[in-house]
């Protein structure tokens, strides 16, 4: 197991998140996809910390912890927005949210 295999796994996870965010029509999938991408990024942080030269300083771990905290906040606000948008448009299909169309 080398760093590159881990990176390949996290890149795959990232692209699966991107897939969920880009191709699904339900608004919640965008959030799920973003959370997956963030998780992939967290794996990278931890991996680079673990494989890097300074394992004594838990910098990567700290960044991951902050990322988790911020992702939780993002999920809370995002889901609240989904509910608010649903109340307004009576749908969660993101194709129909095109009020900003130019």
């Amino acid at each position: 197991m080398t760093l590159s295999t881990l990176l390949v796994v996290s890149a795959t996870l990232f692209c699966l998140g991107l897939l969920a965010a880009l191709s699904r029509r339900h608004a919640i999938f965008i959030l799920i996809g973003i959370e997956m991408m963030l998780a992939a990024a967290n794996i990278n942080f931890i991996a680079f910390w673990r494989f890097g030269p300074h394992t004594a300083h838990p910098t990567g771990v700290i960044v991951a912890i902050f990322a988790i905290a911020i992702a939780a906040a993002e999920a809370a606000v995002g889901l609240a927005m989904v509910i608010a948008v649903y109340r307004h448009f009576r749908t969660t299909n993101v194709d129909q949210f095109n009020q900003l169309k130019g």
């Binding site: 197991m1 080398t2 760093l3 590159s4 295999t5 881990l6 990176l7 796994v9 890149a11 795959t12 996870l13 990232f14 699966l16 991107l18 897939l19 965010a21 880009l22 191709s23 699904r24 029509r25 339900h26 919640i28 999938f29 799920i32 996809g33 959370e35 997956m36 998780a39 967290n42 794996i43 931890i46 673990r50 494989f51 030269p53 394992t55 004594a56 838990p58 771990v61 700290i62 991951a64 912890i65 902050f66 988790i68 905290a69 911020i70 939780a72 906040a73 993002e74 999920a75 606000v77 889901l79 609240a80 927005m81 989904v82 509910i83 608010a84 649903y86 749908t91 969660t92 299909n93």
Partner: protein, 161 residues
């Protein structure tokens, strides 16, 4: 650490992640999403960051996944309307995937084995958080409070209507 355990965890995580991204039923996808974090936290355990793994499980399975299923319950929808699948997104995702893999393979400096390191204790993380990163920690606290209040205000029923 050996390649066997790693392979099991990686395939488990990626299969569940694929399920989360593609399962037609929203609830199944959300539950797979929750299970995926078990795999990710296993990665963290494998990499010696037990604390982050536990926090990941705690936050995502305990809180975010519950939030998501609640949101799904609160937004009943006509299933046919949301069933669609955008193939352009698949193309973009595959293109990005190709680009990333190409970049990783091309970069020689990442093909390294892990160094032998002492296990990271919770105390070390706590000291780092409370000494070196105390301001970011406070900022995150403020951010979480703001997010809490903001989320509440967003979903609050409008009294007038």
């Amino acid at each position: 650490m050996n390649i066997f355990v790693f392979g099991i965890i990686a395939s488990f995580t990626l299969i569940v992640a694929l399920a989360a991204a593609t399962l037609p039923k929203l609830m199944h996808a959300a539950l797979s999403f929750a299970v995926m974090f078990l795999g990710i936290s296993a990665f963290f355990f494998l990499l010696g960051a037990e604390f982050v793994g536990l926090v990941q499980v705690f936050v995502y399975i305990g809180a975010v996944a519950v939030l998501i299923v609640f949101t799904i319950l609160l937004t009943p929808h006509d299933v046919g309307n949301v069933r669609g699948f955008g193939w352009s997104g698949v193309v973009v995702a595959i293109a990005v995937f190709g680009g990333l893999i190409w970049a990783i393979v091309k970069t020689k400096s990442v093909a390294i084995a892990p160094s032998v390191a002492k296990a990271l204790t919770v105390k070390q993380i706590g000291e780092a958080l409370m000494i070196s990163y105390v301001w970011p920690l406070l900022c995150v606290g403020v951010l979480l409070t703001a997010a809490l209040i903001g989320a509440l205000i967003l979903v609050m029923e409008d009294k007038r209507s």
